[in-house]
């Protein structure tokens, strides 16, 4: 039953995401300076600057809510400064980011 619920939520989240353009989203991610705290590929940053966004960002509803009415240190990006379509494009870009190599495949991360 739990798995069915998760499947339904996941499907609904994907369907709820507005249509966005990955290329425009990448440009908007840079233009609106999301990268200054979250990194250019959404990897997050050290010393609490910003959490990792990708791969596998949280669902659209939560993503939009955090951008518009953020918790903690993140500044609010309101509609007059970040239009809905630009935000949709940014989400499309973040969703498009591929996973990095596993740590086990990186020699420098194997050693202590």
């Amino acid at each position: 039953m739990k798995w069915i619920f998760l499947l339904v939520v996941g499907t609904a989240s994907a369907q709820d995401a507005p249509t966005g353009d990955v290329k425009r989203g990448h440009a908007a991610f840079l233009k609106y300076q999301c990268y200054t705290c979250h990194g250019t590929v959404g990897q997050g940053a050290e010393r609490g600057a910003g959490p990792k966004l990708a791969p596998n960002p949280f669902p659209w509803a939560g993503f939009e809510f955090q951008v518009r009415t953020p918790r903690q240190d993140m500044p609010a990006y309101r509609k007059q400064h970040l239009p809905d379509q630009d935000l949709a494009d940014i989400y499309a870009y973040v969703r498009s980011i591929k996973p990095s190599p596993a740590a086990s495949a990186i020699p420098l991360l194997k050693s202590d």
């Binding site: 233009k31 609106y32 300076q33 990268y35 200054t36 705290c37 990194g39 250019t40 590929v41 990897q43 997050g44 940053a45 050290e46 010393r47 609490g48 600057a49 990792k52 953020p70 240190d73 993140m74 500044p75 609010a76 990006y77 309101r78 400064h81 970040l82 990095s100 190599p101 596993a102 740590a103 086990s104 990186i106 420098l108 991360l109 050693s111 202590d112």
Partner: protein, 206 residues
């Protein structure tokens, strides 16, 4: 090193600008077999997360006041203090911090102070970029003005030339993360001969 930390460091491993995790992993790779000292260190940094400290002199802490301009002269002082102890001193040197007193590079060259400087060159006073973004959000203003007066670009500073001009061996700017390791090995060889060296790496913001 915890598995969770390794996985976090792997994210954006091949990114350019270079991720701060990759920068620290590459530096650790050249220091791990030395009696090492990181002249400036902060909790929550990749060095603290990735590098196993076993000696009291491994991490020397920070200014205590979040002041910009402390790191470069403090690192030269630490390297001078460590010089006769057989300790290899390194610093992850922020670009904005170096520009407060770049003449310390000459001091290091003049007095043969063996310091390995690796530039964390994000081409900004990045703390200020993030702070102004927060203030813009708080006052319902545009975010894209936060870089005015807070970035160090147009023109970009060539830190290798800045160092070379003062007699310090230097390479860079490096934007390809695969080139960091070999450059650091060459820099370490210079430092182990008793001279300062600087490798300029263009990095992510933080």
């Amino acid at each position: 090193m915890k598995a969770r930390t390794r996985e976090a460091a792997a994210v954006a491993w091949d990114a350019s600008p270079v991720s701060t995790a990759r920068l620290h992993a590459e530096l650790w790779n050249v220091l791990k077999n030395e009696n090492w000292c990181l002249a400036e260190s902060r909790s929550g940094s990749w060095a603290a997360r990735l590098w196993p400290a076993t000696q009291h002199h491994n991490f020397l802490g920070q200014s205590g006041g979040a002041g910009v301009g402390y790191i470069a002269p403090a690192a030269v002082g630490a390297a001078l203090a460590n010089k006769d102890k057989g300790i290899v001193t390194a610093v992850v040197q922020p670009d904005g911090d170096l520009m407060y007193a770049p003449g310390v590079l000459w001091t290091a060259a003049h007095h043969r102070i063996p310091l390995l400087s690796v530039m964390h060159n994000n081409r900004a006073y990045h703390q200020e970029v993030m702070h102004l973004q927060k203030m813009a959000g708080l006052h319902n203003r545009r975010m894209d003005t936060a870089r005015i007066g807070t970035t160090i670009e147009d023109p970009n500073i060539d830190y290798a030339k800045l160092a070379q001009a003062q007699g310090v061996w230097a390479e860079g700017p490096i934007t390809d993360p695969a080139k960091i390791g070999p450059a650091l090995q060459r820099a370490l060889a210079v430092v182990k001969k008793g001279e300062p060296a600087l490798v300029d790496v263009v990095t992510q913001g933080r």
